[in-house]
């Protein structure tokens, strides 16, 4: 019987490098072995953090001194506390025991964090809060010169959304784009990743680079190219279809085909991203699990269904969430290719929000943006529920 996929949790690409030290051995035999290196490393780290009081005093910073000062362990903590503590007299604990004292280290901490924090608060966190506040007002573009015209209208903007036919259409289109697009993109990228990971295929780099190409290129440029490819008479796609005897439609000018076309284009553009993440996830599955399954007589499909899929769940969750966040906001494709048409059949939520902003309906646009935000969070929760590793 294969091990439960706990190990895959920590090796998911979403949890970057620090995941490894935190990993809890899934196998009891590993856990009951000799004390792992990490805790002892922490002890010595803490000790050396507290010991320096004496080392710094004696102004001897050579490596041998470091080692010797580390050896006594926590015992020196009291010493250095006496030395460093009163000198600063503000903080206790580990920070206060450092050579230059707690306050200066706290200041150093902020010194490092401050440039980022200021920019981040002014240009990211601040606007996120402001947007929420604006969504509760009737702010318009013309009000910027005399702010006293702005009234607080509570949740009126949110209520209004539900009687806005264009908003409902855009919400429907976005829902279709996400509900069809995300699974389609994930399935395609998983197929490619499985193919590349099968060990049967050479020229891995060529495939990876090729499949990944659309991900790195500007969606605007891609949209221009695709508009060209999708031209009814002079486009490449219909020419290929004519070759096999199909009379292709005017893809982007047809109410039925426009949105599905954009969905396929989305999958075309994003499958490389899922492929790379899935490949990393697949390579993190220990090979001996497959060997064990083979010995147990599990066939290829059974191995995929009962071994690969469960082990890949955290990776799937990650790809699903990232892809969903991107798809909920789809904007460039309709902007460049269809302008939301024909007859609003490709109008997306982000596009509608952008238009309302363009009309100067700032409060209303903010409300719509927040709805988008809530949708992103809710869908992430849904994915989490669907794909979390259910370890029984």
């Amino acid at each position: 019987m294969p091990r439960r996929p706990d190990a895959a949790d920590t090796s998911a690409p979403g949890s970057p490098p620090d995941a490894a030290p935190n990993r809890v051995p899934a196998d009891p035999s590993e856990a009951s072995g000799p004390t792992p290196a990490t805790p002892s490393g922490e002890v010595s780290g803490a000790a050396s953090g507290e010991a320096p009081g004496s080392a710094a005093d004696s102004a001897a910073g050579s490596a041998s001194d470091v080692r010797s000062s580390r050896a006594p362990g926590p015992g020196t903590a009291a010493d250095s506390g006496v030395v460093a503590g009163p000198a600063v007299g503000v903080r206790s604990g580990r920070a206060a025991n450092s050579p230059r004292g707690g306050l200066s280290r706290a200041l150093t901490g902020w010194g490092f964090a401050l440039p980022f924090t200021l920019l981040f608060l002014v240009f990211t966190a601040g606007p996120v809060v402001m947007s929420l506040l604006m969504s509760l007002t009737d702010l318009r573009g013309t009000d910027l010169l005399n702010p006293f015209n702005v009234n607080i209208v509570g949740i009126d903007n949110y209520v209004r959304l539900f009687s806005d036919a264009k908003f409902l259409t855009a919400a429907g289109n976005t829902a279709v784009f996400v509900v069809v697009g995300v699974p389609l993109t994930m399935a395609l990228s998983l197929v490619v990743a499985l193919g590349l990971n099968s060990g049967l295929v050479r020229f891995q780099t060529v495939f990876r680079v090729g499949y990944y190409l659309p991900v790195v290129t500007s969606i605007v440029a891609i949209s221009v190219v695709w508009r060209f490819v999708l031209q009814p008479d002079t486009g490449l796609l219909n020419e290929i279809l004519r070759f096999v005897g199909i009379d292709g439609p005017n893809w982007l000018n047809n109410q039925t085909f426009a949105l599905p076309t954009l969905i396929v284009m989305g999958a075309w553009r994003n499958l490389g991203f899922g492929m790379v993440i899935f490949l990393a996830g697949l390579q993190a599955i220990p090979k001996d699990l497959y060997e064990a399954a083979t010995i147990d007589g599990a066939r290829r499909f059974a191995q995929f269904r009962y071994l690969t899929v469960p082990m890949l769940r955290p990776t799937m969750l990650f790809v699903a969430v990232i892809t969903t966040i991107g798809y909920v906001q789809f904007f460039e494709e309709p902007f460049v290719m269809t302008q939301g048409g024909p007859l609003d059949s490709t109008l997306s939520l982000a596009f509608h929000t952008y238009n309302q902003f363009g009309f100067g309906n700032y409060g209303y646009a903010s409300a719509m943006g927040y709805v988008l935000f809530v949708v992103v969070v809710l869908l992430s929760i849904v994915w989490f529920r669907l794909l979390r590793s259910n370890v029984e």
């Binding site: 490098p17 620090d18 490393g41 490092f112 980022f116 996120v128 049967l200 790195v216 004519r242 929000t353």
Partner: protein
Amino acid sequence: MLSDQLRGRDRVARAALYVLLIGGLVFVVGPFVWMLLSSFKPEAEIRANPPTWWPHELTLANYGTLFDRLDFPTYFTNSAVVAVVTTVGNLLFCSAAGYALAKLPFAGKRVLFGIVLGTLMVPSIVTIVPLFVLSSNLGLVNTLAGLILPYLAQAIGVFLMRQFILSIPDDLLEAARIDAASEWRIFWRIVLPLCRPALAALGILTFLASWNNFLWPLVAATEEETYTLPVALALYAIGQNRTEYDILIAGAVVVVLPVIIVFVLLQRHFVRGIATTGLK
């Protein structure tokens, strides 16, 4: 261990797999190749019905027209300046803040990290309105600074750097502290050099995201002299010139080609960076 019969099946599977993967590859890369080839066709051939694959006649006229009719050098410079400054800024600010969050004690650390995490999922359209109001108040609309500042310190960058720096052993830093090295020195001499893989990934991905960024430049660059490449191309593509495919195709090549070249050259870093960070 495998029987001959299985090997035979593997051979069939391998052939099927190649067909599938190469078919997919043609589907994915085909439009790019067609774009590049078409950019060298004379205008009449671009409009030909049925379309041609290989150009019957090679010409650079489309690029000539592009640079005659549009101020592409300006857009190109704008895009490059914005992307370079944004990248350098993020590398600097995010690694410094990431170091503080990972290894230095300071009041408000948890709150700061909480806020950073909280904004990771915020769609960019949410902040467009307040950002625009803020930029107009600060006189940043239609300046390159206005295009750069909102992206100079991004949550995802700090998150990535913090996670990476956490994996640097404390012993190493403590040893340097005992040597009476200042935190700045430790940061420059020890932390940053160890962060090279993370910095490479963050740098490449930030540069790309900035080069391809569309929504904010579309909103904040209202005059031609501050257009970035995607903005110029998109506005040209939806304006009265929407059918001038000779110019549009050449323009798309100019936007895409630098990125493709950089990507192919650095693809090793890309794949590693993406796999460890999940950034696009």
